[in-house]
Symmetry: C2
Subunit: 203 residues, 2 copies
Amino acid sequence: MVIKVNFPIKKTNNNQYVNKANLGMQLETAINESNTFYLNANKAAIYKKPTPVQIVKVDYPMRSKAVITEAYYKTPSTTDYNGVYKGFYIDFEAKENHNKTAFPLANIHPHQYNHLLNIYKHGGIGFLIISWNHTNETFLLPIMNLKIFWERMLNGDRKSITYNELKEKSLLIKEGYNPRLDYLKAIDYYLENDINLIKGKLL
Amino acid sequence: MVIKVNFPIKKTNNNQYVNKANLGMQLETAINESNTFYLNANKAAIYKKPTPVQIVKVDYPMRSKAVITEAYYKTPSTTDYNGVYKGFYIDFEAKENHNKTAFPLANIHPHQYNHLLNIYKHGGIGFLIISWNHTNETFLLPIMNLKIFWERMLNGDRKSITYNELKEKSLLIKEGYNPRLDYLKAIDYYLENDINLIKGKLL
């Protein structure tokens, strides 16, 4: 009888350009830089929406521009990013996950989930981008796969997505120098191979 | 020889629901209410983006939520509204015009104009909504018609759009009770009759 021993395989990092410390903590920066790259390369026009703020008090000091002196953060009613790619409406929310084993669905507001479902219904493309800080991987999860986990939660079951579930139901986004997160490649894949997961049929 | 005299025809107002005082001053409210109507009627998902604010200082008083105590208005880099309608990407800026004879192009930031051109290039639908306060009319001006006037300005000519020019190059938006401004009807018209004025061919 031969006993097979599986030695751990030392994986090489193909990506020499990514500062791993930054990528985990700065998903937003990585996406914003990718969007700037896409815009300049004439690939897409996708922007982050401004942070919603409830402005309460504004001062107008002499010879100076208006100063907001009292304001509060508002719960966002939609997602962080939207825009246009190849004529398609694109809409997504981006979240970092610091949890080792699962992504808690509490990270997504119910109205954001409903917004993404709505976008799908109107023929748009909706998804989440989730960066898994412990493995330094970033995933694109189509709305219709998020729906599976969301409905499981609504049925009183698990309130999170495990790492393996996420890996199975999403695409790994290629990381690089420019764009730092080439998430449009993942969109292309779904559009060509599994469009119903990410885009409604309204068109 | 018979001399024809054109008596002024007294026009009746078909629209009994519109508060004229409000409509002129509150284009934003009218559009927001129309968008809520469209959303609830499952016609479209179009939202106003939050006002862009540069947050400088945030306080965290005990037992209370974060208070922004210093912030400034930022120049918007894109337009005020975007969303999805029938699978199309929709993007527009809304402006009230208090001028009697012409709409000054200075009301539109150059980067907003370029943004709308860019949206068109990527196969999206781009336009302006202009409310003409003196006549209480609201017009939808497709990006490619705005381009005519913008390039005239860049050529050193007139820096505004006259009332008659606007009337000729845009569609009057029907005003009513719900939606208050049925601008999607104007979109439908262009999509069916003159799509190249409003939507790029990328799809």
